[in-house]
Symmetry: none
Subunit: 442 residues, 2 copies
């Protein structure tokens, strides 16, 4: 308990309900979809803090203040995002101070962090950025590893009742790590329940197919529960166990004296899901498909190279997201042009003329040529028709061939992907990574 | 004016403000991102109907009724989505009837449409589906071409004031066509203004720096207005002109007889912003930086290849998002390993040993080698330290060198980027695309 990077200065109380307030005129115009609210909602739900309402207002101090007052009149806590930037439109900290009835004060630690950030990048710091060091008296600053705006956490009395307000910056790249790293541990002692969740991540099987295989477990809806939710092309199931907030995670593993479900029941549910979905489960946990694939390559010490056509570097770029990958990733060739396939990957020109670039033979030749050029243990190739042009009745848009060349030979496979050009490219890249994963998992 | 498929039975009044209410427990849990609200907001903004607030509640009749009453106390209109399905959880129509003070009545046209739909698909119709034919007395049913739940449009008195409520089903595939085909024409005569917006997109200059250069224009807040909003690394300004709803867009270009601002004033504001921000403006419109760069290459017929190290294919993959790019994009080499830089890009090995892979000389050699291997008009190279390891006092994490090789020689530049590994990689890729854009823009 207690945050990794916050002095623990907020006295917990039991939060019966926490609302989400999103500040940003761009949300009112619909130019931005409110992913911050969804991310916050997921975390509150995982924490076992009930949330019954979300509100969006623009960068307008009167409407913001009105919204804060209404929310704090109804609920014990609020998590607000947006309006902490350096511009004059950014007024959330000022409005919260007014609602708390305290002045804004300069936080020297925050000012120092902002100054350091500007020094390190060499950009000039403007007076606007100094404003970001002002936080309501008595509040905590939450460090921002990806931008200048600190978050703010405040516990205060509102009409005689204890209230908690958390403010975070709006850009998801700043808000998400702050939420996960600082706010979740800060909120934990305020939760009345505790939820233990496991995420079971699946690739290469549709959501309805997976759900059919698990329908009886989803329908049961007891404790633990199993619920599907689907991203774009990858399917995730969440298994959740509800515990009273005061039962330590490690204490016992089965039903307790009163027969309430415990962590062993959660383990059993997860094992059953994994058994039913088999090789399609790439992770029980938080890692993405590219992270799992990269980790397998690193753990096994298998070097890899890539030859990409329609994905044009995307599969390699995804793999390279993982720190440390340079130990095994040697490089890649994007061969958009057939000439490049011949000259840099040694694909025979007559093969291309005879069978075209999208087929089993070309995919295999690309992977073999890549493996020998780069001298790697494995080489992956991806070649396909992403559209919007180039489809034929024989090879419609969405046709993708993949090959994986290794010491034991070369396997090829093909898929037909639906969607627009960039969905096809993204799904083809993931399919390629999954081909590596399946090879190394068996 | 008037809907394509609704009998025009609602007497228009001027809507000063319209709120958006989203109903759905899945939104409160964060499993679903609220794209319905964003879609509705875009349409309201295009219609010139101001919207100052959005609310999300779960499938709970008391909280829904409370939200409806609050919204209708503040605003002239509400567009609500969700809670119109066949299940017992779906109660939005019933709650609206209670707020209007009228009973639910069966709409025979709707019942017939639902029955027809079931006959055509062969699925059995359940008593729950009959419930969907119940709408508040005096309201209009809005046909649903993609599901069973009709939408509802009602004009009614609320505490003596005219109010408009629109209900639509939650699934985006049903809601969006209903919004665009039926609700937009229905709302048109209720709009008091019309908005013309232009988006000015900027790269290579921070949000605070850009805003300092434009502060007086942002502060003016007249008509047209200028407002900043920032994504991750790219900065966008929106210039917006408000016109009376009855002034056609094409009619005249300057202030009208009464001196009201017109489209020429919007053009002048945009031109002034572009003049002040200069080469940093990559687009006035909707295109991304990668799209603008790809379009410039295609328009000029300049072929291109890429040599990437830390970005590992990301810059090439971004460029390849654009349909048609295969006409000019030949390919790319990801040279993660120094050996690959030597063997596939002809970087002299002693240069690497002397100066390392992150520096002006290596970047230039990568770009030159790439250009000659691929035989392209331009070749871009990117080499840098993305972290989390590999930084030195001399070359800290975030140091990135870029080079662009062309017929007139090779330019190099370096940046210091802040953030984590993948932000550094993403920003380095964008910086590379921007280097091509700047070369082709001047």
């Amino acid at each position: 308990m207690g945050s990794a990077d916050l002095p623990h200065r907020l006295e917990p109380f039991g939060i019966r309900s926490c609302e989400i307030l999103s500040v940003g005129t761009e949300l009112l115009f619909g130019q931005t979809v409110n992913t911050d609210a969804a991310h916050t909602a997921v975390r509150l739900s995982e924490l076992g803090i009930p949330s019954y309402r979300q509100t969006v207002v623009g960068d307008n101090p009167e409407r913001m203040e009105q919204a804060f007052r209404e929310i704090l009149g109804r609920s014990d806590a609020v998590v607000a995002t947006g309006g902490l930037g350096p511009t004059r439109d950014d007024r959330t900290a000022e409005v919260l101070a007014r609602v708390m009835g305290v002045p804004l004060e300069q936080d020297d630690g925050v000012l120092e962090a902002i100054t350091r950030r500007f020094l390190s990048t060499g950009s000039p710091m403007t007076p606007n950025n100094r404003k970001q060091a002002l936080i309501p008296r008595g509040a905590l600053a939450i460090p921002n590893g990806h931008g200048t705006a600190p978050g703010i956490a405040a516990r205060f009395d509102f009409h005689g009742e204890p209230r908690l307000a958390i403010l975070l910056p709006g850009p998801p790249a700043e808000m998400r790590p702050m939420m996960d790293r600082s706010v979740v541990p800060l909120l934990e002692p305020f939760a009345q329940y505790r939820f233990l969740s496991r995420y079971i991540r699946v690739f290469g099987i549709g959501e309805s197919r997976a759900e059919t295989l698990l329908q009886d477990l989803v329908d049961r809806q007891e404790n633990p529960t199993l619920a599907p939710y689907c991203g774009d092309g990858d399917v995730v199931f969440r298994a959740t166990l509800r515990l009273p907030a005061d039962r330590p995670e490690g204490e016992g593993t089965g039903p307790d004296a009163a027969g309430a479900p415990g962590p062993a029941d959660l383990d059993r549910l997860v094992a059953e899901v994994v058994r039913r979905l088999g090789i399609h489960v790439y992770e029980v946990g938080d890692r993405s498909l590219q992270a799992v694939t990269a980790d397998l390559l690193m753990e096994r010490g298998v070097t890899v190279s890539l030859a990409e056509s329609c994905t044009a570097g995307l599969a390699c770029a995804l793999l390279a997201e993982r720190p440390g990958i340079s130990a095994v990733l040697k490089g890649a060739v994007t061969a958009y042009d057939n000439d490049v396939k011949v000259r840099l990957l040694d694909v025979p020109r007559d093969l291309l003329e005879r069978e075209g670039a999208v087929g089993a033979a070309c995919a295999a030749a690309m992977a073999d040529g890549c493996r020998s050029r780069f001298g790697t243990g494995l080489a992956l190739s991806i070649t396909g028709i992403a559209g919007p042009d180039g489809g034929t009745p024989d090879k419609p848009i969405g046709t993708v061939w993949l090959a994986l060349s290794g010491p034991d030979g070369t396997v090829t496979e093909s898929v037909r992907l639906a969607g627009d050009r960039n969905r096809i490219r993204r799904m083809a890249a993931f399919r390629g990574l999954d081909l590596i994963r399946r090879r190394l998992s068996t």
